[in-house]
């Protein structure tokens, strides 16, 4: 038998037949997977009520020989993140994080760092962190892990390396920055101050547990927000369904 036990975050659950559940989950070992929990709606013993949205669990699953549906054998609750169900804005942000993860990581694409990001983001949200800050931290890091890191190293026009001085503008078509000599600030090319660029650099390339201590100022948040709105719309080519519940 090809059985694996892995920490996993429950992403979606659907009723399947009379007593089964169809579960999408993100594992640290094999990325996002889908599986069937036979008797999942009734079995207290094997699933101990922990097949619930956003829960961090220790999941035992068996790789199926064909297709991409696995069998879930059992499940143990590690952290139910009760704070995520304490109000609608937390539920919405957690859902948004799940949806973005689904878009960036197709079934079976392994990324241990993405699992860590999701877990740490839920831990912080569970403790009641500021949702606008958490959203930006998550977007920036998730996009970077998904292969859409914004290049903050040099101006895309003149090629001069950015030394951390003066404002720059964001160019969505290339996911890069340009210096003020080459480009002007506008609605579709929003500007960023040097401190914001520095912060963004850290957020994109550092695991969550290390960045959450260096909070973003309100000014940085208001500068980064439009940049990621444009960047995500352009790279992902659709608006996230859950985004409308965040406003």
């Amino acid at each position: 038998m090809n059985t694996h036990i892995s920490p996993a975050i429950i992403m979606r659950i659907k009723e399947f037949g009379e007593s089964d559940l169809l579960v999408t989950f993100f594992t640290s070992e094999r990325g996002r997977l889908k599986g069937v929990a036979k008797g999942g709606r009734k079995s207290q013993k094997r699933f101990a009520n922990c097949l619930d949205l956003f829960c961090l669990t220790s999941l035992e699953y068996e790789l199926k020989r064909k297709g991409d549906l696995h069998f879930l054998h059992s499940c143990k609750l590690i952290n139910p993140f009760p704070g995520l169900r304490s109000d609608f804005s937390s539920l919405s942000l957690a859902s948004y994080m799940i949806e973005l993860t689904e878009i960036l990581f197709p079934l079976g694409v392994t990324d241990k760092e993405m699992f860590e990001l999701l877990k740490n983001a839920f831990l912080t949200l569970n403790e009641g962190g500021r949702t606008d800050t958490l959203r930006i931290l998550f977007e920036a890091r998730a996009m970077a892990l998904g292969g859409y890191k914004i290049n903050l190293d040099k101006c895309c026009g003149c090629g001069r390396p950015y030394a951390g001085e003066g404002r720059v503008v964001f160019k969505r078509s290339k996911g890069v920055i340009a210096c003020m000599k080459c480009e002007q600030e506008s609605k579709i090319s929003p500007g960023l101050g040097p401190d914001t660029v520095k912060a963004l650099r850290i957020i994109q390339s550092t695991p969550w547990s290390k960045v959450e201590d260096s909070p973003l100022t309100d000014e940085m948040i208001s500068e980064i927000k439009p940049v990621f709105k444009l960047h995500m719309e352009y790279r992902i080519d659709r608006r996230l369904k859950t985004a409308k519940y965040l406003e």
């Binding site: 979606r12 009723e15 037949g17 009379e18 207290q44 013993k45 101990a48 009520n49 922990c50 619930d52 949205l53 956003f54 829960c55 609750l77 139910p80 009760p82 995520l84 169900r85 304490s86 109000d87 609608f88 937390s90 539920l91 919405s92 859902s95 948004y96 799940i98 949806e99 369904k241 859950t242 409308k244 519940y245």
Partner: protein
Amino acid sequence: MGIYPRSLERLIKEFSRLPGIGQKSATRVALYVLRSNRELAEGLAGSLIEVKEKIRFCSICFTLTDDDPCSICCNENRSNGTICVVEGPGEQLALEESGSFKGRYHVLHGVLSPLDGIGPEDLKIGELLNRLDGEGIREVILATNPTTEGEATASFLVKLLSEKKKGLKITRIALGVPMGGDLKYMDRMTLEHALSSRTPVTP
């Protein structure tokens, strides 16, 4: 394409669109219908049409009903002043069958679920708030399921209800060890709830 005549294939296809029914079960049911007498088919077809034509939402509690208002809202022997809020008609039926609640109901028709595109405006929440004053409600029992989305919906309602009516008693159904359960197999959260909502026992 199929091995059966076209009309039978069509019936199988229609049955397999129902939840929890796969190709195999659909074929079994279709063959059964075919073998049975005409009465069964006519009864089935008639009630399928009737259910779509007659069943509607009760204009007070939004449960499914033939007559508006529904039999529970019309029943004068039930106590006024308490509303039990449930996710759907199935949950209401389960509570009704237990026979332990004699007040009024309100059916939300779902829970908040951003991932499925369900927000506050998709549920019968405004309708619930409107009932508070009109019916002199003193207590609202939140009986959504103890899932992530059910809990979030209950939290959301607590906020709205308390803002809408000062002094309103808002209660949440208890969460704990089920009948016939085994503590060894309970998750941490259920045990925490079971302990914190323990009740005094007298000899």
